[in-house]
């Protein structure tokens, strides 16, 4: 991209980025965030991410967005998946594996039923 040459350029870049994110997320009903820090990866976050991509592809779902981020701090619950829906409500799932991830895609993403069992609770 073109280099930013002033503070105004940076502001424009920010607004553009926000708009892009809104557009991207606007076309999506649900956002799946996988936390890919060292701890997450050690615990199997790559498997979770791969499963999500495979399953969404197989089911032909395009209204779900997938995002990778760093560690959210709750190492003990890794690998984790945060599902955020349009209302802004978010649901953190913890200690996942391929099978559990598949269940979440099937029930939460496809049918809209929260998978209580895998939610992180106090």
């Amino acid at each position: 991209m073109k280099k930013l040459e002033s503070a105004e350029d940076l502001l424009k870049f920010r607004d553009r980025s926000r708009a892009e994110i809104d557009l991207r997320e606007g076309s999506k009903d649900i956002l799946l965030t996988v936390h890919m820090g060292t701890c997450g990866i050690a615990a199997g976050a790559r498997d979770v991410l791969a499963t999500i991509v495979e399953e969404l592809g197989a089911a032909g779902i395009s209204r779900a967005g997938v995002q990778q981020t760093g560690c959210v701090g709750l190492c003990d619950q890794e690998p984790m998946l945060t599902v955020t829906d349009k209302s802004g409500a978010f649901f953190r799932y913890g200690r996942l594996d391929r099978a559990k991830t598949r269940e979440i895609i099937l029930n939460h993403v496809l049918r809209g039923t929260v998978v209580n069992e895998y939610l992180i609770k106090d």
């Binding site: 060292t38 050690a42 890794e78």
Partner: protein
């Protein structure tokens, strides 16, 4: 900066040392003029050869216009550098505080028993080397061990054999095992 070289696999047993040493020269060329370039150069050379043999240290010393003893002194100071060949897979047992209080000592004992080697040694078949590490920041999942770049978490002493078996098989059976693992996971 080319960090991928440092973390690259060191399984170059089939390539003769002579051949590997020639690959050292471009690295020297790239870093000799750089202020403080000696350590990055050593890191990359160790990535290429798998360890730092005397010949490599000599070559680097003369390339950087330093004495052998000065470079050897730097190599000896940092625990990351090794002057002896290591096994195909390097096992690092974290002995950081969090791992220690969660039983890393027992994990280490179990590994020593399982592989019949001590810390700093390599198995006879040159498949595994055993090292200890001071915390790789996976404290939330203690006790942890690292095999090459993979971090294994919440390791149970009674289960270390299973972990190593996978690496052992991967060497022999290669793809088949990985496929088997995948299908088991499905």
């Amino acid at each position: 900066m080319g960090n991928e070289n440092i973390t690259a696999c060191a399984c170059q047993e089939d390539v003769p040392l002579e051949e590997l040493l020639t690959r050292v020269d471009p690295v020297i060329e790239q870093y000799r003029q750089k202020p403080g370039g000696l350590i990055p150069a050593l890191q990359i050379v160790q990535g290429i050869i798998g360890y730092l043999p005397e010949e490599a240290i000599k070559r680097i010393a003369s390339g950087f216009g330093k004495s052998f003893s000065e470079v050897a002194g730097v190599v000896g100071f940092y625990s990351f550098f090794s002057t002896t060949p290591r096994g195909r897979h390097v096992i690092r047992v974290c002995l950081g505080t969090a791992c220690y209080v969660r039983g890393a000592g027992q994990v280490l004992e179990a590994i020593k028993r399982n592989l019949q080697i001590d810390v700093g040694e390599t198995t006879k078949d040159r498949i595994f080397s055993l090292e200890v590490a001071r915390c790789f920041g996976a404290c939330g999942l203690a006790p942890a061990i690292m095999v090459d770049e993979d971090v294994h978490h919440r390791v149970k002493p009674s289960r270390v054999g299973d972990i190593f078996e996978r690496y052992r098989l991967r060497r022999n059976g290669g793809e088949a095992v990985i496929m088997a693992e995948r299908s088991a996971a499905l």
